[in-house]
């Protein structure tokens, strides 16, 4: 089984967001970059499948500056069981939107015949939750999004996805695109020897021209960033007598805020 896993590098959610300038601009200089946490579920699922089948090959695909993603590819992907990597490094893709990135990934994925293409359900920086499903459409593959459970059969799979008030059970033939969420597995940590060995695994670096595609145009553009709307002051209720505090809170929610 040939599996592709698409990953993205994102700022750690602890990173401070600095907005500066008359039109607030995002200062990214203080960001600590990590692998998108959801993509780790995709990586782990691919490795689990390969281990279970006892055979297969896992290719990691990412879009980003090679010098910046190198450590992530090595430590978070190749050292935990992926076999090789493809890095699309093209300065013209800076600021590309989801659909543009999906087109680049689709071009990279079309170079091989994958049975499964795994993504995280979303990236924690832009929270768009689009690229995986868009890539499925561009590849002409079915997709199952937001999976929390996966069972593979011969040439087919059954995945479960949470919906409001329940779970959908979805059957699909392969090849298929899956977007992976928490609850699917527990991503493993790389061991030191495996990190050392990962340095030997092949990493192919190419740009859009190398993929044989034009740099796709973005259809969305961030005009400006803005701080979140300010929230009002917190009304602190004296907690000296907890029961009285609870009654006062209930009264305030009922009479002042009129919520209950």
């Amino acid at each position: 089984m040939k599996i592709a896993v698409c990953v993205k590098q994102v700022p750690d959610s602890e990173s401070r967001i600095n907005l500066s300038g008359p039109v607030p601009e995002l200062d990214t200089s203080s960001f600590t970059m990590i692998i998108n946490p959801y993509d780790q579920y995709a990586v782990e699922e691919a490795v689990k499948i390969k281990e279970k089948l006892g055979d297969g090959e896992i290719t990691v695909v990412t879009v980003g500056a090679e010098a910046r993603v190198r450590e992530m590819i090595k430590k978070d992907c190749l050292a935990v069981g992926c076999d090789k990597a493809v890095v699309v490094d093209d300065a013209a893709l800076a600021g590309a939107d989801s659909f543009a990135v999906a087109q680049v990934l689709a071009a990279a994925l079309k170079r091989e015949q994958f049975d499964l293409v795994l993504f995280g359900i979303k990236a924690i920086d832009d929270d768009a939750s689009q690229v995986g499903i868009m890539t499925a459409e561009l590849l002409g593959m079915p997709h199952v999004g937001y999976i929390g459970d996966l069972e593979l059969k011969d040439g087919a799979l059954t995945a479960k996805r949470e919906i409001e008030g329940g779970v959908e059970v979805v059957d699909s033939p392969t090849p298929c695109v899956l977007t992976c969420g928490k609850g699917l597995n527990e991503p493993r940590l790389p061991s030191l020897p495996n990190i050392m060995k990962a340095g030997m695994k092949p990493v192919e670096v190419l740009d859009c021209a190398g993929l044989g595609v034009e740099v796709p145009a973005s259809l969305t553009e961030v005009k400006q960033f803005a701080p979140p709307p300010p929230r009002g002051e917190c009304t602190m209720i004296d907690a000296e007598d907890p029961a009285a505090a609870a009654r006062e809170l209930a009264r305030a929610l009922h009479e002042d805020a009129k919520i209950i």
């Binding site: 868009m134 937001y146 059970v169 979805v170 209930a250 209950i260």
Partner: protein
């Protein structure tokens, strides 16, 4: 002068409230800038969404009926919505950021080669559509402009208020042009949650527990308060990762995003990852021993007290009020 199409989602014949919220907001835009609001509804059995859609702002409601619309299917829904958009050419298509909408919108946008924006909390029209949405765990907002003939925009449930300013909507039908053979991934079953359980993402009130409840046996205290409020029960990542509560309850960056009218955080310190999932709630209540906890920075009401002392009394007080 935008014509705005609003996807009126149904599951098992039930309409999602976010549809009415989107119609209400779309109508505000067209009242100010011209254009029309169109409801678009796919259904299996007979339906009557016209009256509600009109009331909430739709000028017209386009419906398509097919036996296949009995159960959600990414491919068939994409085909139907693409057929509608190609025939009627709306400038903007709004889709609720629900389990279905988040699955449908990217596939639809990619098929149409259209701009796609997810999880919007604000819409404005400035010669073109500008969409406001939270990014970086809600630490800042981005104003996103879209290009092209049509934009597909996901709307966060509860981001927009309901308005009943519309009147009667004109009824029309359209042909969904289904090619069932192209649908490869099929929903074979839907397992429904236990009766009486309120869905987190749709709840008007959410009561969540964190580390402060000290152990899995005390989550019942959260559930009791949730029951008194008629609320869904949520959890912080810490207690989900500790195995105290199932992951389906997790609110936050690697869990669910909720925006209820009231969010009650009990024994939750308010890490940025948690705030990412709940900070757009209308009213936030924090109950936590540590008065310096960051949760109080986003809260509207706070009690710096012990959840074990406050929650039972709060449960009783809420029950009293609910009884009238």
């Amino acid at each position: 002068m935008p014509n705005i199409a609003v996807f009126i989602e149904q599951r098992a014949g039930q309409i999602k409230k976010v549809a009415w919220q989107m119609l209400s907001e779309a109508r505000k835009l067209t009242d100010a800038h011209g254009g029309e609001v169109w409801g678009v509804h796919l259904h299996a059995a007979s339906c009557n969404v016209n009256e509600d859609a009109g009331k909430h702002g739709a000028h017209k409601v386009f419906t398509a009926e097919a036996a296949e619309f009995d159960r959600y299917d990414s491919e068939l829904w994409t085909q139907a919505m693409a057929a509608f958009i190609n025939e009627h050419k709306p400038d903007v298509v709004l889709v609720g950021s629900t389990a279905m909408g988040k699955d449908l919108a990217p596939r639809l946008a990619a098929r149409l080669k259209a701009a796609c924006v997810s999880d919007a909390v604000g819409l404005s029209w400035d010669g073109g559509l500008v969409v406001r949405r939270p990014v970086f765990a809600g630490k800042c907002y981005a104003d996103v402009a879209t290009r092209g003939d049509v934009a597909v925009v996901g709307i966060r449930p509860n981001a927009f208020a309901l308005a009943e300013t519309g009147g009667a909507a004109e009824a029309a039908t359209f042909s969904p042009g289904l090619d069932a053979g192209a649908a490869k991934a099929k929903v074979s079953a839907v397992e429904t949650a236990a009766a009486g359980q309120i869905s987190l993402t749709e709840a008007e009130v959410v009561v969540s527990g964190g580390r402060g409840i000290k152990g899995p046996e005390n989550y019942a205290m959260i559930e009791k308060l949730a029951e008194a409020f008629g609320a869904a029960s949520g959890a912080s990542r810490a207690i989900v990762d500790a195995g105290w509560v199932d992951y389906s309850h997790q609110v936050g960056q690697t869990g669910k995003t909720v925006a209820p009218n009231l969010y009650v955080a009990c024994g939750i310190s308010g890490a940025i990852q948690h705030l990412a999932g709940m900070s757009s709630s209308k009213c936030i209540v924090a109950i936590n021993k540590d008065a310096a906890a960051p949760i109080f920075k986003v809260a509207d009401y706070g009690i710096a007290g012990d959840v074990f002392e406050v929650l039972p009394a709060l449960t009783e007080a809420v029950q009293e009020i609910k009884k009238g």
